[in-house]
């Protein structure tokens, strides 16, 4: 006759004993093993911005808003263009009115609550435009801080958001040093640029790249050595934004200047 104590003991032992070989099934998952043998991802999406070519027309911002259903008049955008004006006294003036959706139609600098700042042409030392978008970091802080795993990184490097799982705590918005994240005005979930993942995964270019008339924006696969974007990144002098945060950003800039924030 088996006692209750003995029964409990033995069944626990049995379950524990069975768990060991069952765990092996996970450790030696043949599917995963074969996947890991050949490179798991043949694609790693990267972006190349040539700031020399950008004229601040804002076509990219408009195309992005329409493509990704970000309400046109909402004061948020997955991508934007910044204007930098450096004056002779060494001051740097920056703006991005309406995320540059309509381009830069006025010479005056939008200083938000401080109003418009007029700068005389002769006072300007240099001026240029810098398009911004999600850096699809290799070490994304937004993915790290999401408490429910609603934002995640795909094997090809793009960081996505699961709108059905996001709780809307805003930790990812706070965690991003580049300020690319916001809450979608309609869906309320965290929102960000995803290199138009629905397009690039079908072999198309992202909407902003398609819309840029000057070729200032290009997207490519850094794992393909023949990719023209890869070749530029590998052979020319490129810079990334805010490297000091250790996020390993994957949007590369040609013609970067120290004033860029």
């Amino acid at each position: 006759m088996i006692t209750r104590r003995n029964f409990c003991k033995k069944s626990l032992l049995l379950i524990g004993g069975m768990a060991v070989p069952l765990a092996a099934l996970e450790i030696f998952n043949p599917g995963r093993l074969s996947a890991e043998k050949d490179d798991p991802a043949k694609v790693r999406w990267v972006f190349l911005v040539d700031t020399f070519k950008c004229v601040g027309c804002g076509f990219c911002v408009r195309a992005c808003k329409l493509e990704n259903e970000i309400p046109y008049d909402a004061n948020v955008s997955r991508t934007w263009v910044e204007r930098y004006v450096v004056t002779k006294d060494g001051q740097v003036h920056t703006d991005s009115p309406k995320a540059a959706r309509d381009g830069f139609t006025s010479k005056s600098i939008d200083q938000a609550s401080r109003g418009l700042l007029e700068i005389k042409d002769e006072d300007i030392d240099k001026a240029f435009f810098v398009p911004k978008l999600c850096n699809q970091c290799d070490n994304p802080p937004c993915v790290q801080v999401c408490p429910v795993g609603a934002t995640y990184q795909t094997p090809d490097g793009v960081v996505l958001v699961d709108r059905t799982w996001c709780i809307g705590c805003g930790y990812c918005v706070m965690g991003c040093p580049y300020g690319v994240r916001f809450f979608h005005p309609v869906y309320k979930a965290a929102e960000k640029c995803n290199f138009c993942y629905h397009r690039i995964s079908k072999g198309l270019k992202s909407a902003c790249v398609e819309a840029c008339p000057f070729g200032a924006r290009r997207i490519g696969n850094i794992k393909d050595p023949e990719d023209p974007v890869t070749r530029i990144i590998m052979t020319e002098r490129v810079a990334v934004l805010k490297e000091e945060y250790g996020t390993k950003p994957q949007v590369f800039y040609l013609g970067m200047s120290r004033e860029v924030k």
């Binding site: 004061n75 955008s77 934007w80 408490p147 706070m174 300020g179 809450f183």
Partner: protein
């Protein structure tokens, strides 16, 4: 309108998507968890370290800590874009996130406090249930109370000397276990901020420690003030009853807000206050001395934009004045009330200056954001994340505390009825 746009005013260059996303509720969150942790640490001073003078306030602060518990997560829920998905943090925690630990830490802590409270009051549950059982005819209310207390005994009816001794040991153990967990609960709230590398003001390893110290300060302060307030109310009620029935014991016999209790507790308050200020100043000096890239904008936020909030309200009114008030000889109840209220204000402003101050500048380090607290709500959003939402959070623990007081005797006075 985009979330955050209503209460954010931008100045100079701020990234287009940047708004003040963490608002008053995120100020309330560390403030409330701080009170929870602080109240618990205060009660543990008696239970674990045997500080006898705190006996009276210890039971009180334990019960108060329990009443504050559910309120610690209330501001978080009110702040979420999807409050009904909040449970996902418990169901699918993503452990690289500091917030994901919330479910585990919070439930552990909740269980410890509940268990400790149960051990403290078990004798009372059993006695009350047994008394009610003796009655042959029970009214409806008595019947409900009988069932309630019988359930609350959890079937442990033994109140012999031996088993009560065991209870006491359990309380001591739980209180001891509770201190690190309470510190963890709150230290980790500090970690949530301190680990955001994108935010120049938040990112410091000192943040969790600063949070714990100010938490203890605020918890003790709230316990003192609530203790005094309830004692005064009870005295008033008793005086009124005394008029109708002179046979009752006089007010002097009623254990009133003893100055002794308040003086003793305020000593601990001052101790932790010194610790908190030291760490905060260390952080400030260190930032100024090392002057890394972000210091330029931080300096203009700290010494210019937020000067009044930080140096006048937080350090001046919230730290310096109460410090003097408590250290002046012959503490009176009235002075203690003023002092503790100012301390609470100071700690609240510290949270405010961290949470709102941390978003007062853009990550571009070239622009500022100003927060305008929505007062009168015109939508659910401005209610939840406005003045009234915050007041709702602030008022809830007192309602819960009152309810708790209906069930368990928080004060040891037995002869008032």
């Amino acid at each position: 309108m985009v979330h955050g746009e209503v209460w954010t005013a931008k100045e100079l260059f701020v990234y287009p998507n940047e708004y003040i996303y963490w608002t008053i509720q995120i100020v309330m969150y560390p403030f409330m968890t701080g009170l929870v942790a602080g109240a618990f640490v205060l009660s543990s001073l008696y239970h674990v370290f045997g500080v006898k003078q705190l006996k009276e306030i210890a039971r009180f602060s334990l019960a108060f800590s329990f009443a504050l518990l559910p309120v610690a997560m209330m501001p978080l829920l009110l702040h979420l874009q999807f409050p009904f998905r909040g449970i996902e943090v418990m169901m699918t925690p993503h452990f690289t996130s500091a917030i994901a630990a919330f479910g585990i830490v919070f439930t552990t802590y909740g269980m410890i406090v509940a268990a400790e409270l149960w051990f403290v009051y078990r004798k009372f549950f059993v006695e009350t249930a047994l008394e009610l059982r003796k009655l042959t005819v029970r009214s409806f209310v008595q019947q409900v109370r009988y069932i309630l207390y019988s359930v609350l005994t959890l079937g442990a009816w033994d109140i012999s000397e031996h088993s009560l001794e065991k209870d006491e040991r359990a309380v001591k153990m739980l209180a001891g276990l509770g201190i690190p967990v309470a510190c963890f609960l709150h230290g980790y709230a500090g970690f949530i901020f301190g680990s955001v590398k994108a935010n120049a003001l938040w990112m410091t390893p000192l943040m969790p420690v600063i949070f714990i110290c100010s938490a203890v300060v605020s918890g003790i302060a709230l316990c003192i003030i609530t203790y005094i307030a309830t004692m005064e109310i009870r005295k008033a009620i008793h005086a009124w009853r005394l008029k109708n029935n002179p046979a009752l014991p006089s007010i002097e016999e009623l254990k009133s807000a003893e100055l002794q209790d308040v003086t003793m507790t305020s000593r601990y308050l001052v101790m932790f206050l010194i610790l908190a200020i030291t760490l905060e100043l260390l952080d400030l000096i260190f930032r100024g001395y090392t002057a890394v890239k972000s210091w330029d904008i931080l300096r203009s936020v700290i010494y210019d934009k937020d000067f009044f909030n930080i140096f006048v309200i937080q350090y001046g009114m919230g730290n310096l004045i109460p410090f003097i008030l408590f250290l002046m000889p012959r503490l009176t109840i009235r002075r203690a009330v003023v002092g503790t209220l100012l301390v609470l204000l100071g700690v609240f402003m510290m949270r405010w200056n961290v949470v709102i101050g941390g978003q007062a500048f853009s990550s571009s380090l070239a622009g500022f954001m100003h927060y305008h607290l929505p007062i009168w709500p015109d939508s659910l959003e401005t209610f939840k994340e406005g003045l009234f939402g915050a007041l709702l959070v602030a008022a809830t623990p007192f309602v819960l505390f009152w309810l708790l007081g209906r069930i368990i005797p928080i004060f040891s006075v037995k002869n008032t009825h």
